[in-house]
């Protein structure tokens, strides 16, 4: 709670926090939607924003507001799965490479560097094309999770590499601590903020990828997500036909979401920066 209070002093965090809160509320609201998002033509088509369709309706006869609640929920869920999976991989690879060193480090570093260099978009795309149309939320989350860890593994590795040579590591060894205890007690306080900040960054990356894949039509387009909303809007020529509310809804939502996630990760990582924390600890 104190942390949150401190963080809320930062304007960037306040903005991000508000946006995320609103999106969260939207996701929860999806459970109370009067419409089934998978069914078309449940409302009059092509209505501009008006009561009771506050964001208007689509050419497929869906209510944009309620569709959006599902889209936000699904996109957030998917990105959370993706970033959790990639965090686990990043932590395991980064810790192993940094702590073991030597050959294992060289191999793992090469592996993550390869993942950085190779155009991941294309590889993910290839996967998606293969299972065309059948990619569900979980599948997409896992796929993106498998590919989104390289940079963060690298960061964790270099952090562990420097922690390993710090005197307090030796102090812990001399105090009889096991390797596992050292990793959890000595290194984790330094790694947690890193993992947290990259988690948020990775969520943003996953949603961006989702949008691209959806636009290219390689996802299950039935599932309401921010990307698929965009897909249908473009597919039905909403721009040319003047249904601005249709295209604007997912675009605005995604822009706010990206900015909010970004600002949140920036302000949290600044707040959790070890140098700042060292100044703060002990003066509580």
């Amino acid at each position: 709670m104190r942390t949150l209070k401190d963080l809320l002093k930062d304007g960037r965090f306040r903005f991000a926090f508000t946006v995320c809160l609103i999106l969260l509320v939207l996701s929860v609201m999806s459970f109370f939607s009067p419409y089934d998002p998978y069914r078309w033509n449940v409302v009059p088509r092509d209505l501009p924003p008006q009561w009771p369709h506050v964001l208007g309706t689509t050419s497929t006869g869906q209510d944009l507001f309620w569709l959006l609640t599902f889209a936000v929920r699904n996109s957030l869920t998917m990105s959370l799965i993706a970033s959790m999976v990639s965090r686990v991989i990043a932590i395991i690879i980064g810790l192993t490479a940094g702590h073991k060193g030597g050959k294992i480090d060289k191999i793992l570093t090469f592996l993550s560097d390869s993942f950085l260099i190779i155009p991941l978009l294309l590889i993910i795309l290839m996967f998606a094309v293969m299972v065309k149309g059948r990619m569900n939320l979980m599948g997409l989350g896992l796929l993106l999770g498998m590919f989104g860890w390289a940079w963060d593994a690298r960061v964790i590795r270099s952090q562990v590499l420097s922690l390993r040579e710090r005197d307090f590591t030796y102090t812990a060894i001399l105090s009889g601590s096991s390797t596992l205890a050292i990793v959890f007690k000595e290194y984790m306080p330094f790694l947690v903020p890193l993992v947290f900040a990259t988690l948020i960054g990775n969520m943003s990356w996953a949603i961006g990828m989702e949008i691209v894949l959806a636009i290219l039509g390689v996802l299950n387009l039935e599932t309401p997500m921010i990307g698929t909303m965009l897909y249908w809007a473009i597919n039905y020529q909403s721009i040319l036909l003047g249904y601005w509310w249709w295209i604007l809804t997912p675009v605005t939502t995604s822009v706010f979401l990206f900015i909010a996630l970004y600002l949140m990760s920036v302000s949290i990582s600044e707040y959790l920066d070890p140098r700042m924390r060292i100044q703060r600890v002990g003066r509580a």
Partner: protein, 335 residues
């Protein structure tokens, strides 16, 4: 010679290793999945209502297997893949049958490289200069404005930004074409009009890439500069009465540039993907649009060709940057 052994040789070996790994991944992915592309294709043909007798069907399967390099054991396929690849042969395209994939790529590649090279160079230079100034003078009002703008633009995926630009400048305020690389059916020649049209078409795609790029480098550079600024040699130069411009250019920028060069190498994969996406949005006639068509028609050969080519282009550019790095950093040059 020692320098060649400690610096260049490992990098060149890594270069080939990455290409091998990348190509292998490209080879493996289609084979990992429980879906048989040949069956899928046959299915597509039969679903249109055409009847095929078993003999023709078998013949067709064999021919398709041949064309897609799916004959023999996995190892044979793998070696065959490499052999064809080294000859520059990716097989025929499915969606423009029987044009070889390589000639399709050859047509598109210059467009992509042209767009990519210009935007990368422009955004890298502009972003670093602005970032250096913004990091050195963080209290100035223009620096703060840049900061706010970058916070809004930086997190946007290429797609969203490109789409927004398209909405704004081709639809709402129609000053730029909605897409394409040149007039439809027009012939490119080297006169002023031609070049102007070319530039007009390239403007929006380039702009969307540059906007994101500039602010990406701006923020990265700003962070680096803020730490370089606190280095002893900078404060010492200030104490020594050196002029501000000299300190910024020779002491701060020269040093802050170094991690940015490495950063450029590491982010090329991202930038490349970004360019493809942008091309798709603006239907720019490069690899991205080709990719889009390949996906829509399920053209595996083309897809694999584009991927292999991208891996090759990116790793080569990274190698070039890596090999040039010692020019900028004497600590690497003389050890």
């Amino acid at each position: 010679m020692r320098f060649f052994k400690t610096y260049f040789l490992p990098r060149i070996i890594i270069y080939f290793l990455v290409i091998v790994v990348g190509v292998t991944i490209v080879f493996i992915i289609p084979r990992l999945l429980p879906i048989d592309p040949i069956q899928q294709m046959i299915g597509q043909i039969t679903s249109t209502g055409a009847y095929l007798d078993p003999k023709t069907l078998n013949y067709m399967i064999e021919t398709l297997k041949e064309l897609y390099g799916l004959k023999g054991t996995l190892w044979e396929q793998y070696w065959g893949f490499w052999r064809r690849l080294l000859r520059g042969d990716f097989g025929p395209s499915y969606y423009q049958f029987p044009v070889p994939v390589i000639s399709l790529i050859r047509q598109s590649l210059p467009w992509t490289l042209g767009l990519l090279l210009t935007t990368t160079v422009v955004s890298w230079i502009l972003g670093n200069v602005l970032g250096a100034l913004g990091g050195y003078f963080p209290q100035k009002s223009w620096a703060k404005i840049l900061d706010v703008i970058s916070m809004v633009i930086r997190p946007m995926p290429y797609y969203v930004l490109a789409l927004s630009l398209l909405l704004l400048f081709a639809y709402l305020i129609p000053i730029f074409p909605l897409g394409g690389g040149f007039l439809i059916g027009g012939k490119i020649s080297f006169d002023l009009r031609s070049i102007l049209i070319l530039l007009k078409h390239a403007f929006l795609p380039a702009m969307s890439l540059i906007l994101i790029g500039v602010f990406l480098w701006f923020q990265a550079m700003k962070l680096v500069v803020q730490s370089v600024k606190n280095e002893d040699f900078v404060s010492y130069a200030r104490l020594g009465g050196l002029s501000q411009s000299k300190i910024v250019s020779r002491y701060v920028m020269r040093n802050a540039m170094l991690p940015q060069i490495t950063g450029l190498a590491l982010s090329l994969g991202q930038i490349f993907s970004g360019a493809l996406i942008t091309e798709i949005v603006f239907s720019y006639p490069g690899l991205g649009t080709l990719l889009y068509n390949a996906i829509f028609t399920g053209d595996y050969n083309l897809l694999m060709g584009i991927m292999t080519m991208s891996i090759f282009v990116i790793t080569t550019s990274i190698l070039v940057i890596d090999l040039l790095y010692p020019i900028f950093d004497p600590r690497v040059r003389y050890r």
